[in-house]
């Protein structure tokens, strides 16, 4: 048994390899930390979850906030205005973009030792978070999404400012990655990435389960699972979470099967020529996974432009609500994939709260005849360094996973 420490993944994890000679015949992912967020919530006023849940994670706290607000809305049985919906999507897409940029450069380029323009990368991240904060007040850890809508009340001035910041971000993204126009002619940092992986013979390595899931429904994604190119609607009741004795992470399955969630799963829902080109060529490999995450930046920055042009400022930011007790479950797309929040509210207090995070989907520990996506992608390799890179291609979040 060989154990490697994996760090700089929003915390740490251990990879436990079982080898036969040099060949990796089994692998398990162990998360050593636990902070007890679900326990902290019990007995608190339901709305306190809006403040506590973003603290699950420093990089996708906003997704946890919106999941909490949406969950309470599902229990209260209310719908928010289109204006609030668009604003929530703008800020969530911003959070996803800044995550992908950090992961691309600080994790993948760092690991592959590819040189990059730190200043432009950093300025772009700070600008994306500025656009986010223009609506949400601050990033990280805002609490501006509440049951019924959003607390902000943007004016035409804010929208003009937002459009200017967005245009600057788009121009920086072009500077970093080029136009994403032709998958056969990759430009700038995408070209560097392709050439580096090509030189190391890694383009087709790390193929996973080829089973994908997105559990959310919004203007970008549908709640579907994809098997052999076929899409089928998903229902949250088929999700099962099971504890493990040697790790604080819980395994999660849909209808007793493991799935991969994240940007590749989201992009494969649509007939997108750019990602389809790489998917056909390299399947769900390490490279397809990486390029999907970077390409999603380009998709989302355009969606933000569309949303900024579609907001009707005359609509309410918050609709009237009536607080109710009950039970609910909701999913929302976070940077790394589908995030699920479930709760039982009684007399306005939280009786039970359960969070299932994207990393749990991708990094569960299955068995040899039913491996998780990460296990399938690793088993059979001979080089543990490549295994580490494959782990990182899933964009692991340790703090989210163990919450």
């Amino acid at each position: 048994m060989k154990i490697d420490l994996l760090e700089k993944i929003e915390g740490e994890a251990y990879l436990e390899f079982k080898t036969d000679g040099d060949e990796i015949v089994d692998v398990r992912v162990l998360f050593p930390h636990f902070r007890g967020v679900e326990n902290i919530l019990v007995g608190k006023d339901a709305w306190d979850a809006l403040v506590i849940n973003p603290r699950v994670c420093g990089i996708c706290g906003h997704a946890h906030l919106q999941a909490t607000a949406s969950l309470l809305e599902s229990i209260y049985r209310i719908e928010i205005t289109q204006k609030a919906q668009l604003i929530r999507e703008i800020t969530r897409f911003c959070e996803i973009i800044q995550n992908h940029l950090k992961w691309c450069y600080l994790v993948i380029f760092q690991e592959l030792q590819i040189p990059y323009d730190f200043t432009t990368m950093h300025q772009t991240i700070a600008l994306v978070n500025k656009l986010l904060a223009l609506f949400s007040g601050q990033w990280p850890h805002s609490a501006y999404a509440i049951p019924g809508g959003v607390t902000c009340d943007p004016t035409a001035l804010d929208i003009v400012k937002a459009k200017q910041i967005r245009a600057q971000i788009q121009s920086n993204i072009f500077k970093l990655f080029g136009s994403f126009e032709d998958p056969k002619k990759l430009e700038k940092d995408l070209k560097k990435l392709y050439e580096t992986l090509h030189a190391k013979d890694l383009l087709s390595v790390g193929i996973g389960l080829n089973r994908f899931i997105t559990l959310s429904q919004d203007s970008y994604v549908e709640n579907v699972k994809i098997l052999n190119k076929k899409k089928r609607k998903t229902k949250l009741r088929y999700i099962k979470e099971i504890g493990q004795s040697d790790s604080y992470a819980k395994n999660v399955t849909y209808n007793n099967r493991f799935y991969e969630t994240g940007p590749l799963a989201r992009l494969l829902q649509n007939p997108d020529f750019f990602i389809r080109y790489f998917y056909r060529k390299y399947k769900d490999s390490i490279f397809t996974r990486i390029i999907a995450r970077i390409y999603e930046i380009n998709i989302l920055i355009k969606k933000i432009e569309h949303h900024l042009n579609s907001i009707d400022l005359n609509q309410l930011s918050v609709v009237e609500i009536e607080k109710k007790d009950g039970e609910g479950a909701i999913s929302i797309e976070a940077a790394r994939g589908s995030l699920v929040h479930k709760a039982i509210i009684a007399e306005g207090k939280i009786e039970n709260y359960s969070i299932i995070t994207p990393t749990q989907w991708n990094l569960s520990n299955g068995s040899s005849d039913n491996p998780s996506s990460i296990q399938k992608a690793i088993i059979g390799l001979q080089d543990r360094k490549i295994a580490n890179l494959i782990f990182r291609s899933f964009d692991i979040c340790s703090v989210c996973t163990t919450h």
Binding site: I40, D45, G58, I125, G137
Partner: protein, 285 residues
């Protein structure tokens, strides 16, 4: 000679690491340090090599807890080794300063100098070289100030007065509504004060969220969200979106304001009706 910096994470959500990455001048700022270790930024050392590090500045993010694994060592032991060697210790975020939100689950978690508002067992050993930059998370410009400046005036909780002598209320765009006691009556509007009914703790929370803005552009209260008092040892309190009142009067007074003075001023202010403050500022139609 550049200052050598180690950024150590304890029991945390990583929010302060990410907040620091929003510092607009980060690129040039980083050139003034030698980053021995940071959980996100390119570093010279790995986590496993940290026990051998010899930092000038130790940054601590997250609460301390004995038995919390950190590579092959114990977080608490690793902190002790690095803090003894460091010339200065900069404690960022309310978890590292007071124990923070995860202490609600695990009472063994403490801050470096403080356990909630009480001095910790480490206070006497490290207080002479430690400054506290609380917040959940701390604003990146506060963190940069903490890293850059070695002469500063500190309050009783070791927070730089330059950042924490003011309250979050200071600079809030809703101050006019506070002065004339006009309540927001809900959320989603830029008009009205959030202190009277929506749970805003801005008038009695130390912090410069509204004078040094977040992400250069905004703050919680400006965007209609109450201040939750995250820079104080009492964070997180309960029922965060409601103001606790006694007979309609907020239970907690604005910082330094005696209840009698507050009641007098409130009575006078409420006797005026100011039409301008009781309608929308901008009608989008």
């Amino acid at each position: 000679m550049k200052n050598r910096l180690v950024w150590l994470q304890g029991v945390t959500c990583n929010g302060n690491s990410h907040s620091f990455l929003n510092l607009p001048t980060l690129s040039s700022f980083l050139q003034t340090f030698e980053i021995l270790y940071h959980p996100l930024l390119p570093s010279l050392l790995t986590l496993e090599q940290l026990p051998d590090a010899n930092p000038d500045i130790l940054v601590v993010e997250g609460g301390l807890r004995r038995g919390w694994p950190k590579a092959d060592t114990d977080l608490f032991d690793l902190f002790m080794v690095l803090a003894q060697r460091a010339k200065r210790v900069v404690v960022v975020g309310s978890c590292a300063v007071y124990g923070g939100i995860f202490k609600e689950y695990d009472q063994e978690i403490t801050g470096v100098l403080f356990d909630k508002e009480k001095k910790s067992k480490l206070y006497d050993q490290f207080s002479h070289k430690t400054i506290n930059i609380p917040g959940c998370p701390a604003n990146p410009e506060w963190i940069a100030f903490g890293l850059e400046s070695d002469t500063m005036h500190l309050d009783d909780l070791h927070r730089p007065k330059e950042l924490f002598a003011v309250t979050v209320h200071s600079g809030c765009t809703r101050n006019e509504y506070f002065e004339w006691k006009v309540d927001a009556k809900g959320f989603g509007l830029k008009e009205g004060c959030l202190f009277y009914e929506q749970g805003c703790q801005g008038p009695y929370t130390h912090g410069s969220c509204n004078t040094i803005l977040w992400n250069e552009i905004n703050s919680k209260t400006r965007s209609g969200t109450p201040c939750f008092g995250c820079t104080e040892p009492t964070f997180p309190q309960k029922d965060l979106f409601k103001t606790k009142t006694y007979m309609g009067i907020p239970a907690k007074m604005p910082l330094g304001v005696p209840k009698r003075a507050y009641l007098t001023i409130t009575g006078v202010a409420k006797s005026f009706f100011i039409p301008r403050l009781n309608k929308r500022l901008i009608d989008e139609d």
